[in-house]
């Protein structure tokens, strides 16, 4: 898939090294294999040092693509994603990708070059205060002023990015620091303390769960991030408590499992939303009461107490008062809870669980729609079934993103890569690249729309250059579909600036980038089209024409509670 790495040049630690060389050697020492970036003037010393190193650098065609690819690589591999860019416009092009990682708590280290310290603050060519620009969207950031600090800063940055609640860390390196020679690099020793709650708090959580008659397990993206997937599944198996999932947690409980009611929230299932509204206890694990999940917050689960597990103390009680707040690493805390529960009497909420299993079947999504046109939900369901347990969907943002969440089947959380918190169009294509490099044997499919794909379509060149065998499904309704849908229902059908009917011929575009492509525009072509896509050995794009009138259902209107779902026929 990638060009073979050349052997690292031998170096002796006693000789002075440049800051740029220290960046590369520290990344190698930390086990970084893959990074994404785009060179430019202020980061040239580092690019000079990368040549001949063990690092596999993937040249993307836009820094935003590099940041999104690093983010997705981190989501799938569980490692820290790394991206690099030059100063000024290179650094500012990373911003959306950094914000994306921040909102979904993804461990990422972003290295930017900057102008030399002597001209900082002088409005030098390609100078931007990127540390200042990114302050609200990073977990932490550094401006490195001495080459000797580089190893310690990079090691600390990796530690911060992946520890506690993960997030992106920015390292800004002035050009003079990259050139500076040093023979006394400072190392660092970092402890890996695991934050575990007091046993008495776990006991309080257990008591609340045992007292509940109508409990719901509300699973967030933190379950995957903390490595608590098995602990969550054990809890669900042991207690029989019905489960709902946020968008970012899909796959934590495999699709179709007993007592799993699906996604809650604006485009969640009827059963999930109704069960939450009716519950008397929410057991929240690694979720943050995002407004897309809760609907009108003051009317969310109005009768429920809350037991909230989260590593971030500032999330507990932020939006919803809790009966029990369990702060700390989710995995050991949930394992401790499971151990306590297993020692006592079995939890029996079978009547409550049966009620929702029946309701879930009664209100299941309908895969049929009239007409001969392609019905995206049916296509996506068939795709995920045929792709099997190795399936990874790398989504863009919009209607198709919600259809993927609703209709695809996921056996693990790594199978569903989506821009949840930020909802950033353009994520799908670079996210597919990052996911495929993280798991080369997985069946990675980028699922994108005609709006989103155009925002990072240049990354088709990255796919082609490295011959990344990424499969791409482009669902084309010639509209900004989600905006069009909202205009239809909440803006009196005033379809302002959502017409994309002058899109290019995407098959020709893909072929121009060297990627085979074909079109699906009738329902009877779907099965064969999916087979062709999945059988391809190299990259391939399927351009799928869908009806612009198709909407995402159910829909909780803005300002309404999750019990007030609109439904449409298709």
């Amino acid at each position: 898939m990638s060009a073979a790495a050349t052997a690292i040049k031998p170096s002796t630690e006693t000789e002075p090294q440049s800051g740029a060389r220290l960046v590369v050697s520290t990344l190698e020492k930390l086990g970084v294999e893959v990074l994404f970036g785009y060179p430019g003037g202020a980061i040239m010393p580092i690019y000079d040092a990368i040549a001949g190193s063990k690092l596999r650098h993937y040249l993307c065609r836009h820094e935003q693509g590099a940041a999104f690819a690093a983010d997705s690589y981190a989501r799938v591999s569980g490692k820290v994603g790394v991206c690099m860019a030059t100063s000024g416009p290179g650094a500012t092009n990373l911003v959306t990708g950094i914000a994306n990682a921040m909102l979904d708590s993804i461990p990422m280290v972003c290295i930017t070059g900057n102008v030399a310290q002597g001209v900082m603050g002088m409005d030098a060519f390609q100078e931007v205060d990127i540390l200042g620009v990114t302050l609200p969207i990073v977990k932490h950031s550094y401006l490195v002023r001495s080459a000797a600090d580089i190893p310690a800063v990079i090691e600390e940055a990796f530690h911060i990015a992946r520890s506690g609640r993960p997030g992106p860390v920015l390292i800004d390196l002035p050009k003079d620091v990259q050139f500076e020679m040093t023979d006394a690099p400072r190392g660092i020793h970092l402890s890996n303390e695991i934050d575990v709650a007091e046993a008495s708090i776990i006991a309080e959580a257990e008591a609340a769960i045992r007292a509940a008659k109508k409990p719901i397990l509300y699973i967030g993206g933190g379950a995957k991030i903390s490595g608590a997937v098995e602990a969550v599944r054990d809890f669900a198996r042991m207690t029989g408590i019905p489960q709902v999932s946020t968008l970012n947690a899909l796959g934590t409980i495999p699709t179709g499992q007993d007592n799993f009611l699906g996604m809650l929230g604006m485009h969640g299932t009827r059963a999930a939303n109704e069960a939450v509204q009716d519950s008397d206890l929410l057991i929240v694990v690694g979720a943050r009461f995002d407004d897309r999940a809760t609907g009108k917050l003051t009317e969310f689960a109005p009768h429920a107490g809350v037991v909230h597990f989260d590593i971030d103390p500032s999330e507990i009680g932020k939006l919803r008062k809790v009966a029990v707040g369990v702060t700390g690493d989710l995995k050991p805390n949930l394992e401790a809870l499971n151990a306590r529960l297993s020692r006592g009497a079995a939890i029996d909420v079978s009547g409550w669980a049966d009620q929702w299993r029946i309701r879930s079947a009664e209100t299941a999504f309908d895969y049929n729609a009239p007409g001969e046109g392609v019905f995206a939900p049916q296509l996506l369901n068939e795709l995920s079934q045929k792709a099997g347990p190795n399936f990874i969907a790398a989504c863009d943002v919009g209607q198709h993103q919600m259809w993927v969440a609703q209709y695809c089947e996921f056996s693990r959380p790594q199978a569903h890569i989506t821009s949840g918190g930020l909802g950033s169009m353009g994520f799908g294509l670079p996210a597919g690249i990052g996911a495929k490099l993280a798991e080369p044997d997985a069946c990675v499919v980028t699922i994108t729309g005609d709006g989103g794909v155009m925002m990072n379509i240049q990354e088709l060149a990255t796919v082609n250059r490295f011959k990344i065998p990424l499969k791409i499904i482009l669902l084309d309704n010639s509209r900004l579909g989600m905006v069009r849908q909202w205009q239809e229902f909440f803006f009196e059908r005033n379809f302002s600036e959502v017409d994309l009917s002058d899109n290019p011929d995407f098959v020709k575009v893909a072929e121009a980038f060297g990627i085979p492509a074909f079109r699906i525009d009738r329902r009877d072509q779907v099965s064969a089209g999916i087979d062709r896509l999945l059988a391809a050995e190299g990259p391939i794009l399927a351009h799928v024409i869908i009806d612009p009138a198709d909407n995402v259902w159910p829909l909780v209107p803005p300002g309404k509670n999750n019990g007030e779902m609109l439904e449409g026929s298709r």
């Binding site: 540390l131 200042g132 609200p136 401006l143 609640r165 971030d312 103390p313 500032s314 009680g317």
Partner: protein, 84 residues
């Protein structure tokens, strides 16, 4: 109603900007600020007021405490920081 929050934070590039930005972004007005150097740290007392009733000073303290450079955070007027 205003509250005073006491912070000991590493003196580093962007530290003050990071702190002030967080406080304002989380929905608080800053009515007064007192700052002094203390070794490799800055000792800051911020008097803040929530923009609306939904803003919790406790939650703000937790969010400040989440900053990597924040060594100590307290809303206790009698609080004394350890030597930096």
């Amino acid at each position: 109603m205003s509250d005073t929050i006491h912070i000991l934070i590493d003196r580093a590039d962007g530290a003050l900007q990071r702190l002030i930005g967080l406080v304002e972004r989380r929905g608080f007005h800053i009515d007064a600020m007192d700052m002094a150097s203390e070794g490799s740290a800055l000792r800051i007392a911020l008097t803040v007021r929530g923009r609306d009733a939904g803003r919790s000073i406790t939650n703000l303290g937790q969010q400040i405490d989440r900053l990597v450079g924040a060594r100590r955070v307290s809303n206790d007027a009698a609080f004394r920081f350890e030597a930096a």
